[in-house]
Symmetry: C2
């Protein structure tokens, strides 16, 4: 049985030990100084800009203590922050972990959490550089990720122009359906099915984002974290444009016969479901022919077009157009 | 009456608007892109390393909703994170704000909080680059600060050598006594007295830290956040040395006649009191003659010496030596 830890130093030591072999410190590595001093030191690469992003991951708001395996909490808190780096076409460098825990969770729970976090850290080559820990009744996590991108090459939300074709990667609504399945299960979630994996262990589209930025295809890009309707609305607002979506083209989650309570609406899940961490991007029409149908096994699908004006339209059957109302995740409107 | 905000977008807009005139964005400024995209972009200065640090500031653990004025919460959450940059001799560049709030606090409380945060941001020239917001019953804050230091010039905790003289800035125990005074007051704290100001509006010793690093005086440095006994123990552990403190030399908080409940022990407050955000640093004996007695009005005091071995000794009257036990702040041992 892992011992429960009684003071902050032991917890910091446990975290540092857990990441020793993948710390990013040493010859030719980005982190000059990691955990154990007042702050971390990072040596930036010449000719690059830094990407900075932080993300809450809070018990009750973003995950449930009795439903989400600690390993998944560790993986996902980093993966979703990395998705913001992917959305700019950047390369992850390091992250800071702020962790507040009850004393009861400083033993086995912390070990499993660190295991998931370490797997994500290794897979996406984003090293632990520092952090802060404290005691708390709730489990609170905040992750700051530092990434890099060649100066002037970051893809922003604000570059979409009328006529650009709107693309998404993957299928939408899978993570939200995965969450529903998980909530209707008793006890801790099994990670066996693809839907649950999509919810518990999302894969930030780093390679795709970097490839798109390197090729210079997208005029604008962001990640799908709150749901297509909400995120597309954000991209359009930043670019001062509107969008016309082809409803039948939006790649939807497949609802399998084995899914419990089969009254889910795959249209609604694809339009408004959160947590997919796919990429949403716009490409000028003359460049779309250079885009493959899939990239490393992930589909790239044209779903509509950027238009003048600020409206979001959804084209349904027979050419009818409805207004698309942003209805995705907003932590000030609803809870997990 | 400021309106209460109902969704995350309005809260992000309010934060962005509040910092518009001091955003650090624009010609010659460090932030290429701030709030409103997936992440912030920062252009690092050539020949410099980045300092990265994050800090929790949580209701009930680090501040009290009914005792700490929102303006002070805003000031202090940034000031204490900046203190870690000061401790390395660095220059602040920008910060990320993660904020979780109850809906009831998105009106006047948020305005006052942002006012205090903005004042600290301007005073210490550390610009808001991005952040994350969410709804929560408790007020949760996490601050990430990015600073810069010339490559190879950061002062670490690990450089102290036997024979080095130990210095502190300012008087110790003031902030802890300020907290006691505040807790025994009814209602919200008045900011009139120096002690309360020291607790509510600490001043990170950025200019001192930069000056010391530039002159190359300290072999090791850290900030005093948890209390001298705990922090000196940390510095000694990082440097694999011990320390011998001269008790009578430690500059102690002055307990005034007007202080309510005058049974405070200024010795104990100075040795173990937290939250002072003064600097603790070690200087080789041959260099101490170049140190002034005060720097910009803040006293610099020699309080002891680094020794071989790993013991922390406290020299009291008649040359008697006691063991100094680290007894400062540790969030896994006690609560505010």
């Amino acid at each position: 049985m892992p011992r429960k830890l009684q003071d902050e130093d032991s917890i910091l030591r446990k975290i540092a030990d857990s990441f020793r072999s993948s710390s990013g410190q040493g010859l030719g590595k980005p982190i000059v100084l990691g955990i154990g001093d007042d702050a971390a030191l990072l040596r930036p690469k010449p000719g690059h800009e830094l990407i900075l992003t932080c993300d809450w991951f809070l018990e009750g708001t973003h995950f449930l203590r009795d439903k989400h395996p600690p390993d998944s909490v560790g993986w996902k808190c980093l993966a979703r922050a990395l998705s913001d780096v992917a959305a700019m076409g950047g390369i992850p460098r390091c992250f800071l972990l702020s962790l507040a825990l009850p004393e009861t969770h400083t033993g086995r729970w912390l070990d499993l959490f660190l295991g998931g976090l370490r797997r994500a850290s290794r897979k996406f080559r984003c090293f632990l550089a520092g952090g802060d820990t404290t005691r708390r009744n709730d489990i609170l996590i905040n992750i700051t990720v530092v990434g890099e991108v060649r100066t002037g090459h970051a893809i922003l939300r604000s570059g979409a122009r009328p006529g650009d074709i709107i693309f998404v990667s993957g299928r939408l609504g899978e993570a939200e359906l995965g969450l529903h399945v998980l909530r209707h299960n008793k006890g801790m979630a099994s990670t066996k099915t693809a839907l649950r994996r999509k919810h518990l262990y999302p894969e930030p589209r780093l390679a795709l984002g970097q490839w798109l930025a390197q090729k210079g295809f997208p005029t604008a890009m962001m990640d799908l974290s709150d749901g297509l309707s909400t995120d597309l609305s954000g991209l359009c607002a930043a670019s001062a444009v509107g969008a016309s979506l082809n409803h039948s083209k939006v790649p939807q989650v497949r609802i399998l016969a084995a899914t419990p309570r089969r009254d889910y609406n795959s249209h609604q899940l694809a339009l408004h479901g959160g947590d997919d961490y796919e990429l949403l991007f716009t490409v000028p029409p003359r460049k779309t022919k250079f885009l493959p149908e899939t990239f490393q096994g992930v589909s790239l699908t044209a779903i509509g077009r950027i238009v003048r004006g600020r409206k979001l339209l959804l084209l349904v059957e027979n050419g009818r157009a409805m207004q698309l109302v942003p209805s995705g995740w907003d932590p000030f409107r609803k809870k997990l």
